[in-house]
Point group: C2
Chain length 409, copies 2
């Protein structure tokens, strides 16, 4: 265990990948209407074909394209009305040459027909006859059997985070429940004699606990469930007890404060004592948030975050995202950004990757990225920011007027 063994952000993420890729979450079955945002525990293979019949995508007439070939406003095709398909029922007749049948959107296209003409391009002349003003291509306005989903195909893979549209896929293949990973159980511990819990009176020299709220909310947003929030004073014995208790029942233990090299910083020792191999790194080359501990305690991740609220939240944003997606056996989604013009020069941090908080201001051409300055202890700084501009490890800084990507917080 090296003190202040500082590694790059990328190396820190690789440590997580190396140590926790095999972590196994339990699984549970949830009903589809409560499955949004959950992560699939297994590949989903369809036992059915969707649609199971040919469906019309328009209100119109099912026809044989050969019968309306060359049809126009001036020279319509005249077809005999063979019938009308009712929604949700079987079209139980076969279209013969020279015939058409009315089909509503979503209705079954009768056998014999190979296309549907929109109703706008037709005129019903009598109860028995319709004129068609347009030719059709084969399959026009038809969803064929299996166009959406073929029986036996994998519609979604293990680890997928279920979006609203995904619920539609699951229900369309006839599922009412789906097996998902149980959300990782997370304990959030905030340490320090200066931290007053929400129900304590605040004494001079103390500040309110921030980190158990912000880190817990960020972990929940990533798909975790919070099972403990604790504020612990700087007492090695007490911290050891609390950590062991949380460790026993959690998938991930997050601790903030006590990770810099101060007099009362027992946390490194205490974390290292939880289980082998113990502390993997103490310090990442990142601003804000250098003093960060990553430990593997008997196969479970224990992360020591900086005490400064902004640093703690930003570092958790990076490491937590990687870690939680590893546990869910998937990769984080591609991040999106807003392109903006930097309103002033921004410095990098020597030997460290740096994230600059910015707010967005509308400009005549788009957006301006305005740096939000302040010490990383200032929580309002993070709250007032829209996102971050990222300055790579070996870059000195970014110039005013340059085009930058702002990643939303």
């Amino acid at each position: 265990m090296d003190l202040l063994n500082v590694i790059s952000v990328e190396a820190a993420e690789n440590l997580l990948i190396k140590n926790f890729s095999d972590y196994r979450l339990n699984t549970e079955s949830v009903i589809i209407s409560e499955a949004a945002g959950r992560f699939l525990a297994s590949d989903q293979v369809s036992a059915v074909t969707v649609p199971s019949f040919r469906r019309s995508t328009k209100d119109g007439y099912a026809v044989r394209s050969v019968d309306v070939s060359g049809a126009s406003e001036t020279l319509p095709a005249f077809l005999m009305l063979a019938g009308e398909v009712n929604m949700g029922t079987v079209a139980d007749y076969k279209l013969k040459p020279g015939e058409a049948a009315y089909v509503p959107t979503g209705g079954m296209v009768p056998d014999g027909a190979d296309s549907v003409v929109m109703i706008e391009y037709s005129e019903k002349l009598t109860d028995d006859e319709v004129s068609i003003y347009r030719p059709t291509a084969v399959n026009e306005n038809i969803i064929n059997i299996g166009d959406d989903i073929e029986e036996g195909c994998t519609v979604m893979e293990q680890g997928r985070k279920l979006k609203p549209a995904d619920l539609g896929v699951l229900t369309s293949i006839g599922l009412t429940e789906v097996e998902v990973f149980v959300k990782p159980a997370v304990s959030v511990i905030s340490t320090g004699d200066e931290i007053a819990g929400p129900d304590e009176d605040i004494k001079p020299g103390q500040i309110r606990d921030i980190n158990t709220y912000t880190i817990a909310a960020a972990a929940e947003a990533l798909g975790c469930r919070i099972i403990e929030r604790v504020v612990v004073k700087d007492d090695q014995q007490l911290l050891t007890e609390v950590l062991r208790e949380c460790y026993a029942k959690s998938d991930i233990v997050l601790l903030s404060g006590g990770s810099s090299v101060g007099v009362k910083d027992y946390s490194l020792q205490v974390i290292d004592s939880l289980g082998a191999p113990g502390v993997l790194c103490h310090g990442i080359a990142f601003k804000p948030g250098k003093p960060t501990i990553i430990a593997n305690a008997g196969g479970k991740p224990v992360i020591g975050l900086p005490g400064h609220p902004v640093s703690a939240l930003v570092v958790f944003g990076i490491l937590g995202r990687t870690l939680v997606h590893l546990m869910y056996r998937t990769v984080p989604p591609v991040e999106s950004w807003v392109e903006a013009v930097l309103s002033e020069n921004v410095n990098g941090a020597a030997g460290r990757e740096a994230w600059q908080m910015v707010r967005l201001a509308k400009s005549s051409t788009g957006y301006e990225a305005v740096p939000v300055h302040g010490e990383s202890g200032l929580i309002t700084m993070l709250a007032s920011s829209f996102g971050t501009v990222r300055i790579p490890l070996n870059k000195e800084g970014l110039s005013k007027g340059s085009s930058v990507r702002v990643y939303p917080l």
Copy 2:
């Protein structure tokens, strides 16, 4: 009430703004740890100053900058140790000229000191003396009283959607609860004889209900609560009863299907009968999703979405976002995107704004946007897409190789 009175997407959004800006949601108090994602019901004014004392941002020595002026490795300043500040307690002495005091990160800076030297730039010589190797600027490594939040200032405004960092701001000003808007109550109704509910046996010609799942999940993601999900057959009497019942207890009623001009489309009439002024528009110039009804029924929004699952979800994504943020008395956040190169030509839709679904593929230079083709009835099409490329109303299309913005779904 005009049949197929088609308006632009922008005009549709303006209709929503004009009709529902005054909609009043009730408010409720929630504890801070459960407030993430909720929308503030009122401005939050701080009753306290944060921090309420001068805090050090580093482990180090509190000094008077004048005493360490010109200090260097070769010519250190020698200061008398006046004491040590314990975390969370009052530094109850005043630093005199020539003195220093140890302060941990977050500790109170004693009176008399105007800066903090990092411990790395010092050496403790005896119990009483320390040498300092660097000069300091006034306020260096100090967060001053009120730097974060001043008493009486508005820290957040009504309508703000609470992010994790925001919870930190609320707790730091001593709040344990906060007043938020009650989530809009939403009913989702799916209509059509071809729709089989999840517990029904599916008959030939029928498909599984998709829209109550997808639209409900999308509404929940926007911050709504779902109070009803109903599948209704095409029966005017039945639809009227269900709609009236849902209308009575909902803030927003969403209905899918039955909005095109088919034989069994009663929904327009039924929606119009719910209350004045009734239907405001029937059709938006948008692909996918032209047949869309917007109604103001006695002050409540009733939206008739297309029956096609993809159209329904995409149209709700646009209108729902505007509507829900209106109700929460705020504006939607700036949308972020991923820049990508289009892999093939994409057509616009004459006279309509068009959204093309695409998936992302990694390329040597970044990302390629690959159009996902298919009829808007295919739910897998939406599920397999990363996002949309948007083609404005009066643009014919986009060329292969052009740089486009992909907005995540």
